[in-house]
């Protein structure tokens, strides 16, 4: 778990490896399996997730501590967070389309996918549940997203090889991908207990 008493590098290590968001916490699986065909695509997706997740967490933190808590309407948490994330993704998409077409070409098609990426909402809720301060929330979010990027790139590398391997017909496609992810998750489980995290 993460809390305000931890030093920043402990938060980073915990989020990146020990509690890897995809392989240990089971968030963001749709995009993890969906776009991990090739390493370059995975890298772009990872960058898009880092970018949106950081913005979304910052926005969620501000909404929670400056609107929902003072107004006593905590029960609108889920609804307001998901609406803010959806709006944010739209705004970001329009903004980079105008100002940075090159970036848009690289990230553009992945942005809409991120709205339904449960990791973005999940992390926004977790930073509230863990009662993290603003700076710690940002550090945590960026490390979680970096953990996502790390695992999706590693996974894409393995998948590129699986495509050439002789696999029984019945396991081709998603079954073998899941089993591979299981073995990768087993490897990440090796980080458990690292530095007592």
């Amino acid at each position: 778990m993460i809390d305000n008493q931890m030093t920043w590098y402990m938060i980073v290590l915990s989020a990146l490896l020990v509690n890897n968001i995809v392989l240990i916490r089971f968030l963001a699986l749709c995009s993890f399996f969906g776009v991990s065909n090739r390493i370059e695509i995975s890298l772009s997706m990872g960058m898009a997730v880092i970018f949106v997740m950081t913005l979304a967490s910052a926005a969620a933190w501000i909404i929670w501590y400056f609107f929902l808590i003072p107004l006593n309407i905590e029960f609108l948490r889920t609804a307001s967070f998901i609406l803010v994330i959806a709006t944010l993704v739209q705004l970001v998409e329009m903004y980079i389309k105008k100002t940075a077409p090159a970036l848009y070409n690289a990230l553009g098609i992945y942005l809409p996918l991120i709205t339904t990426n449960c990791a973005v909402l999940g992390i926004a809720i977790l930073i509230i549940d863990y009662r993290l301060g603003f700076l710690n929330s940002l550090i945590y979010t960026i490390s979680v997203a970096a953990g996502y990027t790390l695992s999706i790139i590693l996974f894409a590398g393995i998948r590129e090889r699986i495509e050439m391997a002789p696999i029984p017909d019945i396991l081709k496609g998603s079954p073998i991908i899941f089993i591979t992810a299981g073995i990768m998750s087993l490897a990440f489980l090796g980080f458990a207990h690292l530095f007592g995290l």
Partner: protein, 202 residues
């Protein structure tokens, strides 16, 4: 399409988890015991049926360009209701499902059915579609939970009652890895392969 076919579609032929392979995060995360898996399945089914029902009732009044934000508001309303009702009346289940209850809102199955089915079909069909898809989801997550619990813990619990305990009767040594994260990926991989094999034979 006749009603029975809509219902059985979600159960096997278009099972959201095992055939369409969507909405996996809660399945893998909470399907670590039969009890939790079933609870998560029922919670998701409730949201799915209610949102399908509401959206198909209101479908003629929802402007096309506003449909996604309105779907999201409707779905998140039901998710929050489930969240609070479970917290008040099913405290133990609430504690073990944790963050995955609010995350029902981003379950692709629910938004997917709203967009692909409820927005275009009659109230009755949408209702049956919601129940069928929900049942398919619940079936998959409960089966995954049961398999993992049996191999990884040697027990089967349902409605908080222990149905089976291999460890005490057969001195069975549970393979812990199956209730840990890797087990979820490996079991679901073989389950998808198994369903494929069944569909291919029939």
């Amino acid at each position: 399409m006749d009603k029975l076919k809509i219902f059985t579609n979600g159960l096997l032929r278009e099972n959201p988890v095992l055939v369409l392979i969507i909405g996996l995060c809660p399945v893998l995360a909470t399907g670590s015991s039969m009890n939790d898996g079933f609870g998560m399945g029922v919670a998701t089914t409730f949201v799915l049926v209610s949102s399908n029902l509401f959206i198909s009732v209101l479908r003629n009044y929802i402007p096309d360009s506003l449909r996604l934000p309105i779907f999201i508001v409707i779905i998140s309303t039901f998710v929050t209701i489930v969240d609070y009702v479970m917290h008040a009346y099913m405290v133990e289940l609430y504690a073990s499902l944790g963050i995955f209850i609010p995350l029902i809102v981003v379950n692709c199955i629910i938004l997917g059915r709203a967009e692909a089915f409820a927005y275009k079909n009659s109230v009755k069909s949408s209702l049956i579609d919601g129940i069928g898809m929900g049942a398919g989801f619940t079936l998959a997550i409960t089966a995954l939970g049961a398999i993992r619990e049996l191999i990884g813990n040697g027990t089967l619990t349902f409605f908080n009652r222990e149905l089976l305990n291999l460890s005490s009767s057969l001195s069975f040594q549970p393979a812990l890895v199956f209730i840990m994260p890797p087990g979820a990926f490996i079991v679901i991989g073989f389950m998808i392969a198994g369903v494929r094999w069944i569909l291919k034979r029939s």
